[in-house]
Each structure stands twice: as C-alpha cells, then as structure tokens.
C-alpha cells in the first residue's frame, strides 16, 4: 500500500509553487524544474492556430547563458506594445551625440572654428564638453590635447588670451571696477551669465586694439573660444536614440553551481530560428509579433484562486532577526465560488477538504514602503488517505505486534 501510495503521488499528485504580491491573486501553479515551451498568439481568432508540427526543436543546450547585443551597455529596455514589435534599448545622450558628431566630421562638413581646433581628437570633444559642464564654471581650466593656435588669427588669439587672463568668476564686477572697465554700467544691469557673455563680446569687438602678448597660451582660451561661438554642453540639443536589441544563446560547459545550469533551446518555427533561454523574463516575438515564445517552467491551473491580503514579517523583540512569517489569504474555489479566509505561518500549513495543502515558503519586500511578495508551496497527494496513511498504519501495527509474538517452542 505504501509503494502504491508513492506511485500514485508521483504520477497523479501535484507539487509546485505560486508567487503572489500583496493585493494580487493567482491560480497559476509553477513547476520550477519542468521546462515547457509557451506559445501565445496575439489574435487567436484571426490567425490560424499553430499546429505543433510547425514548431521543431533544433538544438538543446543543457547549460547556456543569454547574450544581449545592443550598441553599448544596457540601461533600460523598451518593449513596444508589450514586446510584440520587438525590444530596444534607450541609448544615453552621449552616445547618440557622439554618433551624430562623428557623422558630421566624417562627411567633412564645415564646423565652427573652435571645433575645428579640436577636430584632430574628435572623440575627446564630447568628454571635454561634458567635463566642463560638470565643473559648473564659465571657463574651463582643463587643457585639450595639441591645440594648434597657429590656425587662429593673431587678433583672435589676443582677445582670447586677455579674456582668459582677466576673467574672474568670483569677483567679476569688482575686478572690472578695479580695472576701470569703461562699459561696466551696461553690464551691471544684466543677469550674471549674460554679463559674462556681453563682456566677452565687448573684448572680442576691440580685439584689434588690444595690446599683444608674447605667444602665451592658456588652457582657458579654448573654453573662451567655445563660449564666443555659443558652444556648451548644456545648450546642445540631446537626440534620443533607440537601438534594436538582438540576443544570442551561448552554450557553456557545465558550471559548478546548480543554479547556473540554465538550459536553452533553439526552435525552428516556419523557417525562423529562435533561441530561448530557460526562464528568461522576456517573450520573444515571431512573425511580426503575432506569436510570442517563451521557454519557461511548466504552469498548471489549480481549482483555487488565491488572493493575498497581507504578509507580515514578525521580528524578534529588540532585534532585526525574523521570529515568524505570516500571511492572510482568501481561497476562492473556482468550482463553487466559495471564499475561505485562511491564515498561514511558518510550519503551519492550510489544507482544503479535497487535499490541497498550502505552505508559506518564503517572503520578500518589493518596495520601500514594505509591500511584500510571498511564495507558497502547494501540494496534493490524492492517495494519502486511501493508500499511504493506511499502509503506514499497517506497517506500524505489524512492527508492534512482533514484540508480542510468542517464541517458537518446537524442539
């Protein structure tokens, strides 16, 4: 009877887990170690159903990893229409800007004179502008590699040198007052940055009358030149760019840890090859998004819809150690509509009349305000009362009766 009970449980029993968040409900039992291929159709009534013969497993890798190939490291995925049109990654501003700048320079299109000075190290232009922006100063002290000032007219060099030498952001007006700047009154009424810009324009206007210097250069001259042409990171329009996401499966040799042994398959669906990693979070679209594929743990519906109301983690008094986990649920029998409130805690499962047992297996916090998720383990042994327990009882009874058996006195 015991062996029969084990046989029935193995073939007809049920064991899996359900994930829930406070405020959510589920009747989806997950069998974590049973892989299955999920196929969803976007418009089941309009598109012909997929005969199973059209889906062929081409390759199976017991151990694999997923590799995503966007243009640069992922920051955020964007799924159009819940993935039906595909997945993209949003590229940060710098990459999009660098790409646009490089395209402009490669075509030898005319650029403003300060950028012409920086062309020889074009990949440094954007980092320089960004570092200047982050420094937060009007002019920038950081030098730029190999700037050839000989390309710049001498009078312009003169003006830039004097701007770089005189400009003092912390004491701007006072410095000009000390130097008895003749156009000071026109500056005082303006906001700070407009004062700087106007003063630089005034210096540039009289560049031919300025005293010349002895071939000195200052790192601040380049930023002054960029300011005169209105070039600064903060005012460059930032294009938004999205790169389509492609992914591949890379087979691996067997890793040591069990949790790293992720299987993968490649299927052939109507001539299209799709590689899928087990339990990947995304469904991959095929045939223009009309079909979605996912290689995932097998799911099964149970006859109860479980609603989680609240999950509580009770701590030991005066410490952060957990004393107990508890949760309040409602079990809704989908067959009859009956609602049964129940309470689960550590080592205190709940069992329904038809043999479904619910255990609280784990709990975690999902946001800063303490909303929690729980994992319930559910099992059902249909032969428990008919075979397993009576069989166990008979074995126990037989063992006890052995102590009272009379010795064989046959001589």
């Amino acid at each position: 009877m015991l062996v029969g009970g084990v046989f029935v449980k193995t073939h007809y029993g049920l064991q899996g887990h359900i994930q829930l968040l406070e405020g959510t409900a589920s009747d989806d039992l997950i069998h974590p170690h049973v892989p299955a291929l999920s196929i969803e159709q976007k418009f089941p009534s309009l598109i012909q159903s997929v005969p199973l013969e059209q889906v062929k497993i081409v390759e199976y890798f017991p151990h694999a990893e997923e590799n995503y190939q966007p243009l640069h490291p992922l920051e955020e995925w964007i799924a159009y229409d819940r993935g039906f049109q595909g997945y993209t990654v949003q590229v940060p501003d710098e990459i999009a800007l660098q790409t646009a700048l490089k395209a402009h320079l490669d075509q030898n299109l005319p650029i403003s004179p300060p950028l012409e000075l920086m062309r020889h190290s074009a990949d440094q232009i954007l980092p320089y502008l960004k570092a200047w922006h982050e420094a937060g100063t009007w002019l920038f002290d950081q030098p730029y590699s190999r700037v050839d000032w000989e390309k710049v007219p001498e009078s312009t060099q003169n003006a830039l040198f004097w701007i770089a030498e005189i400009f003092d952001e912390d004491h701007f007006i006072k410095r000009l007052e000390d130097k008895k700047w003749p156009l000071l009154e026109s500056l005082k009424t303006l906001p700070r940055e407009e004062q700087y810009a106007l003063w630089m324009a005034q210096i540039y206007t009289i560049k031919d009358q300025l005293p010349s210097f002895e071939k000195k250069t200052s790192p601040r001259m380049l930023s002054a030149y960029l300011r005169l042409y209105g070039i600064h990171y903060s005012i460059i329009p930032k294009p938004l760019k999205e790169m389509p996401l492609t992914h591949t499966i890379i087979p691996k040799s067997a890793p040591f840890k069990k949790e790293e042994r992720t299987p993968a398959i490649t299927i052939d669906f109507k001539g299209e090859k799709i590689s899928l990693l087990f339990n990947s979070p995304l469904k991959w679209p095929s045939k223009g998004g009309n079909f979605l594929f996912r290689f995932q743990p097998h799911r099964e519906k149970i006859p109860y819809l479980i609603r989680l109301h609240q999950a509580v983690n009770i701590k030991q008094p005066g410490s952060d150690q957990t004393a107990s986990y508890e949760c309040t649920l409602t079990l809704i029998d989908k067959r009859t509509g009956n609602k049964t409130p129940c309470f689960l805690s550590m080592n205190k499962p709940y069992e329904t009349m038809d043999g479904y047992r619910f255990y609280l297996a784990g709990m975690g916090k999902v946001d800063t305000y303490g909303v929690k998720s729980v994992q319930l383990v559910i099992n059902r042994d249909p032969a428990k009362m008919l075979l397993t327990y009576p069989g166990g009882f008979l074995v126990t009874l037989g063992t006890l009766l052995l102590f009272f058996k009379k010795k064989d006195t046959k001589g």
């Binding site: 406070e22 405020g23 959510t24 946001d367």
Partner: protein, 179 residues
Amino acid sequence: MILWNVLGLFFSCSSQEQPHVELMKGRYGNQPIYQAEVPNHWIKLEQASDLSDTRMPIATYKIGDGLLTVHNFPYASFEERIPPEAQIQRWKKQFPKGIHDISSVAHGGFGGFRLETEEMIGYAMQLSPLIFKALHPSEIDKRADYTIKFVGPVVDYRHEVDLFAISFEWTTPLLYERL
C-alpha cells in the same frame, strides 16, 4: 447562578458588533473599486455628486462623535505621485498637539504610514510601483493612492478604525501574471 452567567456570556450582545463588507466607488465610473469591513453602527454619509475634485472624500462615515473620511488620488503618470510622507507631514501640522506616533504599514498592494495623535488616526497609502506600472492608464481609479482619516475620540474607536483600514482593499485583485 453560574449557569445563567455562562449562558449570558453566550447570548449577550457584544458592544462591538460584527462588521459587514461594504463596497465603495472611486472617483470615475459607477463600478465599486474598493471594499472594507464596516461595523454596523457606523453611519455612512451621502457623497457629493461630483467627485472629480480630490478634496472630496469618496466615502464618509460618522462614528459616534467622530468622522472618518476616505480619499483617493488618481494619477495619470508615475512621476506625479505624492509620497505618503507628504500627507503625514500635512496632518502633523493640522494636529500639532501631543505625541505623534508614526508606523509603517503595508497591505493589499499598498504601502505607507499610519499616524496617530490624540485627536486623529490617519493612513496614507501608496500603490506599489510594480502594480501601478502593470495597470493600464485607463484604470485610473485603480492606480490611485488613498488616505483614511479619522478625527474624533481615538481611544474609543482605535480598534474599529484600524480594522477598517487593514481590510480596505480592491474589490477584485490584480492577477499576478499581469506583473
């Protein structure tokens, strides 16, 4: 004598009556969005006809000398949401007297804070971001945060108000598979 006392225990009416489940609508649409356990002696007051102003409560109950109001705050986008801490600070300024006991609470997919003073109990609850993002923008009432505020004799009705607040949830839960 002892038997009559024991029988009296079994058949006497409790001063704390058994609550019933009451449904509440949100600000838009006619279908109830929320449910909560309401003690029978609470008196539900009539709602305003136009609830589009979030200053109007979606439910008001008279409880003895006190008043309990429920507000919800629908948001069109995730970034507009006001954190529960801001509500708590506002209430602290409205009721500055005495000790302010603040504790964090979470249930039904909402998390936030409970404030208790000498004169009021308030719950400021925000929908979990995971659930907010899983809801469609057209489900604007469901994407709302809510507050429950009781002003009155806190000592007499603390237990009932807390039971109401803990039982306050959506009428139909979100399926976990939508997350």
